[in-house]
C-alpha cells in the first residue's frame, strides 16, 4: 500500500478500539447510492521506478532546446545552493506558518524576502507573494481601486505594450468589480505614446499600469508616465522584472513622487521556467496602502521574554478573518518559490544581480546584432530596451520558430498570436546562460530557415 503504513494487525486493533468490524463501516453515513464505481481512467499503481520511467521518457521528449525565448519567463542560471537549500524538508513540507513559534524559519525568511523586495522596488512594504505576475497585476489593480478613494473614476489604463497574458488575466479577474479598463496606444517604437496620452487621454483616472521593460523589451519613459498619472489623480502600478531592477530605476523613484504599487513575476530570481509555474508574484506598495495588500504579510515582533521573533500580521485583511470583506480570497500563495528567491538574492547580492542583468543585456545586444546582420531581419523598434527585443523577419515568425526548433533552437516567441500586425515579428532574448557559440548557431540556423 503506497504511503500507507498500516499492518493488518494494527488495523484490527484500531477497528476494535473504534468498535466496528470493518473499515467499510466507517463510511456508513454515506448513502449507498453515492458510492463510486471503478476508476476506469486511472492506471494500475506503478512503483516509483516505473513512474519515473514513464515521466522520464516524456520529459526527455521536450528536452534539449537552446532557449532564446523570454516574454516573461527567462532561462537564468540558478546557483546550486538555491534549490539544495529550498528543497530541505523543513522548508518544503511545512504548511503556512500559522503556529509562529514552530515556523520561525519560514517566517524570518519571508521577512527577509519582504525586505529585499522593498529594496529592489524602492517601496515601503511587500507582501509574502501572490500566485504569479499576471494575477498579481489583477490584485494590484483591485488594491488601487479600493485605495484610490479620492478618484471618482474607476478607469484603469493598461498600455498596449503590457504582456498580453497579464492584460487578459487582469481583465478576467477584475471583471466582476466594475473596473473600467482602457488601453493606452503605442508609438512606432513599441512604447506608450505619451503625446497621444497628453492630447487624447482621460482627465481623471483611477490608476495607470506601466510595464518596465515592457512586453517588447522596450523601456518606457516611466518618469513622464508617472507624473502624467499623478496629475490626473491616478495611482501608478508598476509591472517590473525584479532582475531588471538591479540596474533600472526602481518604481519608488519614478517621476516626482514614485509609483504607488509595484508588482511582477519573481521567476527571474532563482526559479526554473518549469512551463511557467510554480514561480511567484510579488506586490510592494507605499506604507499608506499596506492595509489594502492582498495575502500574507510577516511582521517582526518579540516573544514574552523580549526576544525578537516573526509572525503573520495584519491578518484582519485576510479571508480567514474578514471572509467576504477580505482584500483578496488568496490563501495558499507561492511560499517555496519565495524561499528560493530569498536565497537567490542573498547569494547574488546587489553586485551579482547587476552583473547578470548586464550579461543578459549584452548577450541580447550581441544576438540582435548577429541576427540583424541577416538580410531581411530587422529590429522592429528603435530606442532603449532591456535584454529582450522584437525582430521583424522576412517570413511569418511561427514558421521560422518551427524551422529553428528542428535545429534545436527555441528562437523566441512569435507575436502574431498577440497582435495581428506582428505576424512576422519575433520576440527574442539571450540570457546570461547563452554563449557566443550558441548565438552563432542561432544566426546560422536562422539563415538556413529563412533561405529555405
Amino acid at each position: 500500500m503506497p504511503f500507507i503504513p498500516h499492518t493488518a494487525e494494527e488495523v484490527q486493533v484500531m477497528l476494535s478500539q473504534i468498535g466496528v468490524a470493518r473499515t467499510e463501516d466507517l463510511f456508513d453515513e454515506i448513502p449507498q447510492n453515492l458510492r463510486a464505481g471503478a476508476l476506469s481512467s486511472v492506471p494500475a499503481g506503478a512503483s516509483e521506478l516505473e513512474m519515473l520511467r514513464k515521466l522520464g521518457a516524456r520529459a526527455a521528449l521536450d528536452e534539449s532546446v537552446v532557449c532564446f525565448a523570454g516574454a516573461g519567463s527567462y532561462d537564468h542560471h540558478i546557483p546550486a545552493a538555491v534549490w539544495d537549500l529550498t528543497s530541505r524538508g523543513e522548508f518544503m513540507t511545512a504548511y503556512t506558518p500559522y503556529q509562529a513559534e514552530a515556523s520561525q524559519g519560514t517566517l524570518q525568511l519571508i521577512y527577509e524576502y519582504q525586505s529585499m523586495m522593498t529594496a529592489l522596488t524602492g517601496l515601503d512594504v511587500s507582501n509574502a507573494s501572490v500566485y504569479d505576475g499576471a494575477s498579481g497585476l489583477a490584485e494590484a489593480v483591485l488594491m488601487a481601486v479600493r485605495s484610490n478613494k479620492k478618484a471618482r473614476s474607476r478607469t484603469v489604463l493598461l498600455p498596449d505594450s503590457l504582456h498580453p497574458h497579464y492584460a487578459a488575466a487582469a481583465r478576467n479577474i477584475c471583471r466582476h468589480q466594475s473596473v473600467e479598463f482602457v488601453g493606452m496606444a503605442l508609438d512606432h517604437d513599441g512604447r506608450v505614446d505619451l503625446e497621444a496620452l497628453e492630447t487624447d487621454g482621460p482627465d481623471e483616472v483611477c490608476a495607470v499600469v506601466v510595464q518596465q521593460p515592457n512586453f517588447f523589451g522596450m523601456l518606457e519613459d516611466v518618469d513622464a508616465l508617472t507624473d502624467w498619472a499623478a496629475e490626473r489623480g491616478g495611482l501608478v502600478i508598476a509591472v517590473v522584472n525584479p532582475l531588471a531592477l538591479a540596474v533600472l530605476k526602481p518604481p519608488g523613484e519614478w517621476g516626482g513622487s514614485g509609483a504607488d504599487i509595484a508588482c511582477g513575476e519573481g521567476q527571474p530570481l532563482g526559479v526554473p521556467m518549469s512551463s511557467g509555474g510554480p514561480a511567484f508574484g510579488f506586490i510592494c506598495c507605499r506604507s499608506a496602502l499596506v492595509r489594502q495588500l492582498p495575502g500574507r504579510v510577516i511582521g517582526r515582533t518579540e516573544d514574552l521574554t523580549g526576544k525578537p521573533g516573526f509572525t503573520l500580521t495584519l491578518q484582519a485583511r485576510e479571508q480567514h478573518i474578514r471572509r467576504g470583506k477580505a482584500t483578496s480570497n488568496i490563501c495558499t500563495n507561492q511560499g517555496l518559490l519565495v524561499t528560493a528567491a530569498t536565497i537567490h538574492m542573498s547569494l547574488l547580492g546587489p553586485v551579482g544581480l547587476a552583473r547578470i542583468a548586464e550579461h543578459c543585456h549584452a548577450n541580447t545586444r550581441a544576438l540582435v546584432e548577429a541576427l540583424t546582420a541577416i538580410d531581411g531581419v530587422e529590429a522592429r523598434h528603435q530606442g532603449p530596451f532591456f535584454h529582450e527585443r522584437v525582430l521583424q523577419l522576412p517570413r511569418p515568425a511561427d514558421e521560422v520558430v518551427a524551422g529553428l526548433l528542428e535545429r534545436g533552437i527555441l528562437g523566441g516567441v512569435a507575436l502574431g498570436a498577440y497582435h495581428e500586425s506582428m505576424n512576422h515579428d519575433l520576440l527574442v532574448c539571450a540570457t546570461e546562460k547563452r554563449t557566443d557559440d550558441e548565438i552563432g548557431r542561432y544566426a546560422a540556423a536562422l539563415r538556413e530557415v529563412i533561405a529555405r
Binding site: 492506471p43 521528449l61 494575477s135 538591479a246
Partner: protein, 487 residues
C-alpha cells in the same frame, strides 16, 4: 543558543558570494540612458556563500514540517509528500521547458497534463477539468466565475447571491465577493449537517449557487447532500464543491454523483504535493456538462492522431479566460500526476479508507481519554473536531494553550479556532500516512498536557518553552508594524 540575526546583519559592504558573480561587462548598459537606470545599488545583503548556506540551513531547522514532525493540521491534509514526485517534476526536460514553447516541442509535458486531466475527471465524476488555477482559492474563483458566466449566458441576471454554510472556509465568501456576489450564510445544525429547512428559506431567484465542502469543515459527511442539491437546483442555482476535503472520500464517492456542478481540488492536499511553507498549490477545477464552455484556459486536448494541443479562448470563446500568465503551477501538477500514478486505481480508494480509519481511531481514543468531541454521535471523516471550551471556562486554559504546549512535545498543533462555529476547537486531521504509533503518541501528549493543565495551568499557558522563541506578541506585531529590515 539559536541565532536571531537576519541575513542583513551578516552583510558587509563588498562581501559577496564571488563564485556567483559573473565577470564585469563594461559598457554593457551604455545604450540605456541614465535617467532610466538605477542610481544607488539596492540594499540587498552582501554575504558569502557559506554565510548564505549556514543561515538558511539553520533557519530551516526552526520549522516544524511533515518531514520532521507529526502535523495533524485539520483541513490541510499534511500527508507524506513523496520524494519520487519531487524527482519527477525536477527532471530537466520539465524544469527547463519554456512556457511558450510550441506544441511540437512540448508533447511530453502536455501528455502529462492531459493524463492528469483524465484522472481528475474520473476521480471527481466531472465532464471537464482545467488545471490552471494556482491554488484552491483561485479554483474557487474560476468555479464561481463559471457559475456567473452560466447564468449570464442564459440572461439570468437576477442571481446575485452565493450561499455558504456557516462553517465554510473563509476563501468561500471571499471568492463569492470577488466574483461580485453577495454572500449569505446557511446555518449548520447541531449534528454538523446543513439546516435543510433554513436552506429552503434561503434559496430563491437571487441564488446563483451554494458553495460547500463534503465532508464538511465540521469533520462529518453531509448526509443531506442529495436533498441540498435538489433544493439548490430547483431554485435554479448551481452547486459548488470545495474539494479541500476530498481526501476523505477519494475513490469512494465522486462529487459528481452527489450533484455538484463544479468543483476545485487542492492537489497540495489530496494529491500530496508539498505545501512549501505556504505554497505553491494547485487548484484544478472540474465541471459538469453545463459549465464546459466556460472552463478557464489553457488546458490540453488531444486530437485523433494522439497529438496534444492547447485549448485557448480562440477555441473556447465563452471561457472565463486565463487567470495567470501561463498554464498554472505546472510543477505541482506534475507532482500530483506522479503521486496518482504511484497510487494507481487501487491506491486511490485506500487514501479515503485509511485517512478515515486514522481519524476515527484517534477520535475514539481521545474521547476515551476524556476529551470532548464536537460531534460525538457522528462518524469522523478524515478529520474531526475537539473542543476545549470546558477547559477554557473552568481553568482558562484555552485551545491555543493546548496548541502551543503540543509544540513542546514535538507535535505540530491541529488547526485551531476553525470552523468558527465551534468554540475553543481543534480540527484534527491525522492523514493516512501516519502510523498508529504516532497517533498514540499524540493521545499521550494531550493527556499529559491535560494533567499539566489541571496541576499547573500557568505552565500550559506559558508554552511553548522548547522552541526557538517563546510565545510571540501578535498585538505588538500588528500595532508597531515592522515589515522590512531598515538597518
Amino acid at each position: 543558543m539559536s541565532d536571531v540575526r537576519t541575513i542583513f546583519e551578516l552583510s558587509a559592504q563588498n562581501r559577496g558570494a564571488a563564485a556567483q558573480h559573473l565577470s564585469e561587462r563594461p559598457g554593457a548598459m551604455d545604450d540605456i540612458p541614465a535617467s532610466l537606470r538605477r542610481e544607488r545599488a539596492p540594499g540587498l545583503p552582501e554575504v558569502s556563500e557559506l554565510q548564505v548556506v549556514r543561515h538558511y540551513t539553520n533557519l530551516s531547522r526552526k520549522n516544524f514540517s511533515i518531514d520532521t514532525n507529526f502535523y495533524p493540521l485539520g483541513s490541510c491534509t499534511m500527508k507524506y509528500n513523496p520524494r519520487g514526485a519531487h524527482r519527477a517534476a525536477s527532471l530537466p526536460g520539465f524544469l527547463n521547458r519554456h512556457p511558450l514553447a510550441p506544441d511540437s516541442a512540448s508533447q511530453g509535458f502536455m501528455a502529462c497534463l492531459h493524463e492528469l486531466q483524465e484522472i481528475l475527471k474520473d476521480v471527481t465524476g466531472m465532464q471537464g477539468v482545467s488545471l490552471t488555477p494556482m491554488a484552491g482559492a483561485q479554483g474557487e474563483f474560476a468555479g464561481v466565475a463559471m457559475i456567473r458566466a452560466y447564468h449570464e449566458a442564459r440572461g439570468d441576471h437576477a442571481r446575485n447571491e452565493i450561499l455558504v454554510p456557516s462553517a465554510a472556509h473563509g476563501t468561500n465568501p471571499a471568492t463569492a465577493a470577488m466574483c461580485g456576489y453577495r454572500v449569505a450564510e446557511v446555518p449548520v445544525n447541531a449534528s454538523g449537517d446543513v439546516d435543510l429547512e433554513a436552506l429552503k428559506l434561503a434559496v430563491g431567484p437571487q441564488t446563483a449557487g451554494l458553495m460547500m465542502t463534503n465532508p464538511s469543515t465540521c469533520g462529518v459527511f453531509e448526509r443531506g447532500i442529495e436533498s441540498i442539491a435538489a433544493v439548490v437546483h430547483d431554485a435554479g442555482g448551481l452547486l459548488y464543491y470545495d474539494g479541500a476535503n476530498l481526501n476523505a472520500i477519494l475513490g469512494k464517492v465522486k462529487p459528481g454523483s452527489m450533484g455538484f456542478d463544479v468543483l476545485h481540488m487542492n492537489l497540495h492536499k489530496t494529491f500530496a504535493t508539498p505545501h512549501g511553507g505556504g505554497g505553491p498549490g494547485a487548484g484544478p477545477v472540474g465541471v459538469g456538462e453545463r459549465l464546459l464552455p466556460y472552463l478557464p484556459v489553457p488546458f490540453v486536448a488531444q486530437d485523433a492522431k494522439g497529438a496534444y494541443r492547447w485549448v485557448t479562448d480562440a477555441e473556447l470563446p465563452d471561457s472565463i479566460g486565463r487567470l495567470s500568465a501561463y498554464a498554472g503551477n505546472a510543477g505541482i501538477l506534475l507532482r500530483a500526476l506522479a503521486y496518482a500514478l504511484m497510487l494507481g486505481r487501487e491506491g486511490m480508494h485506500r487514501v479515503g479508507e485509511y485517512s478515515t480509519l486514522n481519524a476515527n481511531y484517534l477520535a475514539r481514543r481521545l474521547e476515551d481519554a476524556g476529551f470532548e468531541l464536537a460531534y460525538p454521535d457522528r462518524r469522523a471523516t478524515h478529520e474531526f473536531i475537539l473542543t476545549f471550551s470546558e477547559s477554557a471556562r473552568s481553568r482558562d486554559v484555552t485551545a491555543m494553550d493546548f496548541a502551543k504546549r503540543l509544540l513542546d512535545y514535538g507535535i505540530h498543533s491541529p488547526t485551531t479556532y476553525f470552523p468558527l462555529l465551534i468554540p475553543e476547537c481543534f480540527l484534527i486531521e491525522p492523514t493516512e500516512t501516519e502510523t498508529k504509533a504516532e497517533l498514540d503518541a499524540f493521545v499521550d501528549a494531550l493527556v499529559a498536557i491535560q494533567r499539566e493543565a489541571e496541576a499547573d495551568p500557568e505552565k500550559v499557558k506559558g508554552a511553548p518553552y522548547d522552541l526557538p522563541v517563546r510565545r510571540l506578541d501578535d498585538v505588538k506585531a500588528a500595532r508597531e508594524l515592522d515589515l522590512a529590515w531598515r538597518g
